[in-house]
Each structure stands twice: as C-alpha cells, then as structure tokens.
C-alpha cells in the first residue's frame, strides 16, 4: 500500500461494494424465482424468526459450545506445539512438511474415524473442529517463533534477562502479530470443522438445522441460517483482522 486513503473513502467503498452484492443477490432471486433463491428481505425476516424461536436457540447454543471447546483446544494446543517446534530447530524442520501435508488433506474423509473413536455427540464435533484449527495455528506459531530476529534474542541475552522476562518482553511481542494471524485462520477452519461435523451424523446444532433444511428443500431456512452464519463468521473474523493489522503495523513501525 502506498498511502492510506481517507477513512470515509475506505469505509464508503466497502459499503458500496456490499450494497452492490445485495442488489446482485436481489436480482438473482428475481431471476431464479422465490422458491429457488430467497431474496434479501425475506431472508432477513426468516433470520429474525429463527433468532426469536426457542428451538433455534438450543441449536445455536450447542454449536457455540462445540465451537468454544474446539477453539480452546486448537488455540492452546497449536500455540504450545508451535512454540515447541519453533524453539527446537530440528523438530521444526522434521514436523513442518508433515503439518503442511496434513493441512492440504480433505480432513472430512477422516470424520468417520473420529465418529468411531468418540461416538456420536459433542466430543466428536469438538475433536473434528479442533483438528481443523490446530494445524494452521501450529504452522503460523512455528514460523512466528522461528523468524524472531536473532538480534532481539542476543539483546535479551546480553541484558541477562531471566527466561520469564525474556519471554514477556522479547519473545511474545516479537511473535504476537503472526500468532494472531494464525489464530484468525484457525478460527475460520475450526468453525468449518464444527459445522461439517454437525451436518453429518448429528441431531443438534446449526449444521443440523442446515442439513435438515436442505433435506426438506426449505430454501428460506437455508438462506437465513447461512446468512446468520456468514454474519457471525465475518464479524469475529473482522475483529481478529483489526487486531491483527494493528499489531503488524506496530511491529513494522518499531
């Protein structure tokens, strides 16, 4: 980026683009017909209905619980594993290609194994979500720790910082921006994993609502649930992106 445009222009352009997408959606729904593709207004109305119904609350709570546990496992597990692999150079060299290969695998093929191990229910969803999220978090953390500039570590050593001081004042601030980027990717994939887990062999959760609506060809519910999911995912992701960019900018200035 050469220079930053004024804020009103940046937000204005993004809003105009969103408005354009909504108009496109409206046109498509006019063209394909209401029963094939629900328009924006009807989708919003159905989404409001869903949000107010007690049944949907149960499903949403179930999904959020699974997502919460899975995120916790993925974030902490990835952070721990990534830090260890980043500090131990040889272990990192051994593990990185394996991790990258695992990242590219369609993990859904392994879902039946997880179902056989954990049984039907919450633990399987949590495990599946966590498996999706933990790999990118590990890869990003590994690279963050590995690429800390050696001069920082030398300064820490020559100032004779205790390990805790070095971690708090040198390692953490230096690696944090990349770690946050990893958590952002991890969040998106964990959500995807939990949803796929709910769509296959499950009786509860937003994924189940979706697959049920797909089976009944209940287009308004599909659109409304997809819309709510997209809004939720985009909001969390946007907040993480904001933190991510702020941290990166701070590091670039320093």
């Amino acid at each position: 980026m050469t220079q930053r445009a004024p804020a009103w222009q940046r937000y204005g352009d993004s809003l105009a683009l969103l408005a354009g997408l909504v108009v496109l959606w409206w046109l498509l729904s006019r063209w394909a017909g209401e029963e094939a593709l629900t328009g924006p207004a009807e989708t919003l109305a159905r989404a409001r209905e869903l949000l107010q119904s007690r049944r949907f609350h149960g499903h949403a709570t179930e999904s959020l619980t699974a997502l919460g546990y899975a995120l916790l496992l993925a974030a902490l597990g990835g952070l721990g594993l990534g830090t260890w692999l980043g500090v131990r150079r040889l272990a990192g060299q051994v593990a990185e290609p394996i991790l990258v290969a695992l990242y590219a695998l369609p993990k859904i093929t392994l879902y039946p194994v997880i179902l056989l191990i954990f049984g039907l229910g919450l633990p399987a969803k949590v495990a599946f979500g966590a498996i999706h999220g933990v790999i990118p978090v590990t890869i990003f953390t590994l690279n963050a720790v590995r690429t800390i500039r050696p001069v920082y570590l030398k300064v820490a050593r020559s100032l004779r910082l205790t390990p805790w001081q070095a971690f708090r004042t040198v390692w953490l601030p230096a690696a944090l921006p990349e770690i946050v980027s990893g958590q952002r990717v991890g969040f998106a994939l964990t959500l995807l994993g939990v949803l796929i887990g709910e769509m296959f062999a499950s009786q509860r959760g937003v994924g189940f609502v979706l697959i049920n609506a797909i089976g009944l060809n209940d287009v308004p519910t599909i659109m409304a649930a997809a819309f709510l999911l997209a809004v939720f995912a985009a909001t969390v992701s946007a907040i993480l992106l904001k933190i991510d960019r702020a941290l990166h900018r701070r590091t670039a200035r320093a």
């Binding site: 993004s14 683009l17 593709l37 695998l105 859904i108 056989l116 191990i117 969040f187």
Partner: protein, 251 residues
C-alpha cells in the same frame, strides 16, 4: 536427503508400524480401526475389481475442473483487481473474511441454478479455491519490480503482453503458492460436498461405507484419498523447489 528428511520418514513409518502393532494385538477394536496392511489389501481388492473406478474418475475429474477454473479465474480476477486499487481496498475486508463462511450450504441453491449434475460440486470447489488464488496473485503483483514495469512502458508494450511477459513471470513464485492452495482447496471442496450432499464420487463412497458399517472399504477409500492427495502435493513441492532453486531462492 537431509537429516531432517530421514527423521521424518522414520517418524511416518514408525507411526504406521505402531498402528499395525496396536490393531493386530487387538488393543483397538477392529470396528474402529483396521491394520494398515488390511487397508492396503482392501484397497488393492477394490482397484483390482474395478468397482470404484467410476467414483475415482468422477472425483478426480471434478477436482481437476475445479482446480483449472479456480487457478485460471483467480489469476485473471487478481490481475483485474490489482489494476483497480480502490476496488481492491474495498474488497480487502471481504477477501480476508471469505474463508470463514462455509459454502456447502449453498449446494441446494447451486442445484437449482445449474441443475442436477457435476456442475454444482465443481462450482463449490471453484469457490473454495479461487480466493486463495486471487490473494496469491495480488501478493505476487505487489512484488513485481518497478523497474521491469518501467522497461515495459518504455518499450510501449500493450497491457496483454505486459501481463504475459512481465507480470506473470515476475510473480510466479507467489502464484505457485496460490496454485498449491487452489489444488488443496479444490480437493477439500469437491470431496466434502460429495461426502455430505452428493450421491456419487469418492466422498460419497466413504460416507456410504461408513453408514453400512463396511469398515475395510471405508479405510481403503480413505487410504486412496490420502495417498493421492499427498502424491499430488509432493509433486507440486518438487516443482516449486526446482523453480526456486533456478531463481536462487531455494530454502
């Protein structure tokens, strides 16, 4: 081969051997996991009888179509978006949050639009892969040396030959990252949609075997997917390393 490479092979082989021992000794139920040798034997039988060939062809051709569309489309879209900085700034937050939205949910709508064929699945694979390619293209174009563009302007090249002769080669390493992601995402998108929603293909065959408690068949199909995806990735990795070495950028 480096020391890390040997250790890596040892770890992978050790893990397979451990799984074999644990399952053969009966520490894990045969209904949960079968020994790797049994998986390989089942896969050999399936391929030998030829009964999964239609599924294999279908899945692989869908993945190939999704990949070609997303890599090609992503490159062209990336070029266009890069040429319009204001559009790019506006798109930026959308691109960054794109992968948080699960696309499978649009499968029924795609069926309505494209009909009951392979097309909806290819479109899902395309939607998965294209944004990774767009982002990689933008990254690559940002790093085209200024001086190369100035030379192009001085020799009055037209936009198409600038794209083909200057921008494309200069951005290749970054484009290759996008290509690798597009392959991975095409596989994930196609197989996941088959798994959850479709009635044919390898993904469907796995979920069908799972629902019928046909564990050996399920593991055989999983093994096939794991091996073929890993093989594709290794080939891409080798090509990438060779390319980077030629440019003196190898790690």
């Amino acid at each position: 081969m480096t020391r890390a490479g040997w250790i890596r092979i040892a770890i992978v082989l050790g893990a397979i051997a451990a799984l074999e021992v644990v399952t053969q000794a009966g520490l894990v139920s045969r209904h949960t996991i079968i020994p790797p040798t049994a998986m390989a034997a089942a896969l050999w039988g399936l391929i030998g009888s030829g009964e999964i060939m239609p599924d294999i062809t279908k899945t692989l051709s869908n993945v190939a179509a999704a990949f070609v569309l997303s890599a090609g489309g992503g490159f062209v879209l990336g070029l266009l978006i890069h040429a319009a900085p204001r559009l790019r700034r506006a798109l930026d937050p959308l691109l960054a949050t794109y992968y948080a939205v699960p696309f499978f949910v649009f499968y029924p709508l795609l069926i309505v639009i494209f009909g009951m064929s392979d097309l909806p699945i290819i479109v899902i694979g395309f939607l998965f892969g294209v944004v990774a390619m767009i982002i990689a293209t933008l990254n690559g174009l940002d790093r085209v040396p200024r001086v190369a563009l100035k030379v192009a302007r001085l020799s009055r090249m037209d936009p198409v030959s600038i794209a083909l002769l200057i921008k494309f080669p200069a951005a290749t390493p970054y484009l290759f990252t996008g290509v690798k992601l597009a392959v991975a995402y095409s596989f994930i998108g196609v197989i996941a949609s088959e798994f959850i929603l479709s009635g044919a293909g390898l993904g469907f065959a796995i979920s069908y075997a799972y629902n019928n408690f046909d564990t050996p068949r399920m593991y055989a199909l999983m093994l096939f997917i794991l091996v073929s995806v890993t093989a594709v990735n290794m080939v891409l990795h080798t090509i990438e390393q060779r390319m980077l070495r030629r440019r003196g950028l190898a790690r």
